[in-house]
Subunit: 239 residues, 2 copies
DNA sequence: TCAAAAGTGTTATGATTACACCCATGA
DNA sequence: TCATGGGTGTAATCATAACACTTTTGA
């Protein structure tokens, strides 16, 4: 077992097996009841104990930064094979009060139905927050969140990534409400249907909703293979 | 004066005043004779002496990463107030052979007419290379270049940033050729004119080209203030 | 007068928008 | 039967693409 060392730079206790002046922070988006939410952790130790922040951690010396982000997410949520993309690095010299630490932001889209969130060993509490009810966050995590929201709004219109926030089977209205919530606008239902169906990215599952007090909607599934094939033929997702 | 120290991690000689496991690398785009080019340096020292790579360097402990990128660019090219945006961090564990170093990629757009390029103290030679004549680059610089090209192609269609590659006064044909070169396609001249002029982002300078052996074209200038005002009114640049 | 690029006009096509309207289902 | 959302139809408008054509300039 590797011994812990005190990092001269920061005064923090850091394992010798991790890089000592770079961290990773993750913005994890979920979608519940037509609301966009993000996952925050209440820090259980350190100088900002008790305050909410983004989940994050250190990078092991032998793992890539993408691997580190995936590992941290897995440790926190139990989620594997998740949509996860790097945002950018954040490096204001005073962003972290106890020393110079640069952090690399990542953002993830998760299907909240599928996974149970569990508090990790450095977090006393983990919870989902609606995007318009986010508390003040530690360090520069507010900025990281704002940048990732902007990135999400851009990316969701350029590539079919929104599906990662939905259950595998979904209705067209759910999909439209997802777009409405992320982009902050209202859309015309008939036009949305036609526009999306015209792209032929969705597989009709020949099933319907059950136990709804209105006409049951068809269920669809997004098929990434179809998307890849269309892309090769020159198709360009735009919304 | 600060003394130099040997960094245990990498074996490289690194000043005590810089962070020791993070660097910055810049992809600097220029546009000359209807060709997109990038600026490369031939390394004058280190294990990869004599090979071409992206200009880059270390981050001082008291400067932000954006400031570091600007400073490095200034040292290399003498250019200030340049279009410069962060790309992303690159962090494969074996990307740098002599130790674990994460690099943050930046890309810049410069008006090559305006500035003289000079070799810095760590580079023996500096030169522009056409985008389709890039030699093999050191480390993972090929990947950084490919990612920044992709980013440039995306961003040039989403925001009016292409002007940074042109002289201050330019013709519509120059602008169209810039788009054609970056996006790798051919466009229809009449349609391009109308589409761009309709946006009302360009200021007609009431001047014409001189000494051309064809009908002289009107000169235009891009006005960022106009763009900002239109953006506030809900205008969205799309190309 | 020729070549080269500037610049205008026109038409067909397709996407987008706005909105009216009918259908199915459980409470 | 009512409320709720599912789902189709249609017409006006707007952007895009394709291409024919006229204009200006120096060599």
């Amino acid at each position: 077992m590797k011994k812990n060392i005190i990092n001269n730079e920061t005064g923090n206790v850091v394992k010798a097996s991790v890089m000592n002046s770079i961290t990773i922070d993750c913005v994890i988006f979920g979608f519940q009841n037509t609301k966009l939410e993000i996952l925050l952790v209440k820090h259980a130790m350190g100088i900002r104990k008790g305050e909410w922040g983004l989940p994050g951690g250190w990078i092991k010396k032998e793992e890539s930064i993408d691997d580190a982000a995936n590992r941290l997410l897995q440790e926190l949520t139990g989620i594997e094979d998740i949509f996860l993309e790097q945002l950018k690095a954040f490096g204001a010299p005073d962003r972290f009060p106890a020393g110079r630490i640069i952090t690399i932001g990542y953002y993830a889209l998760v299907n909240t139905e599928k996974y149970d969130i569990k508090a990790g060993y450095t977090a006393s509490e983990v919870a989902w927050f609606a995007i318009d009810e986010i508390p003040d966050l530690i360090y520069d995590h507010d900025e990281i969140l704002q940048v990732s929201l902007k990135q999400l709004r851009r990316r969701v219109r350029q590539a079919p990534i929104g599906f990662n926030l939905l259950p595998e089977k979904f209705t067209l209205l759910q999909l439209m409400q997802l777009y409405e919530e992320i982009l902050g606008l209202t859309m015309d239902k008939p036009n949305f249907r036609r526009k999306f169906l015209r792209m032929k990215l969705l597989v009709d599952l020949k099933k319907k909703e059950k136990n709804v007090s209105h006409r049951a909607a068809k269920l669809y599934r997004f098929d990434d293979d179809i998307y890849q094939k269309l892309t090769e033929k020159g198709f360009n997702f735009e919304f």
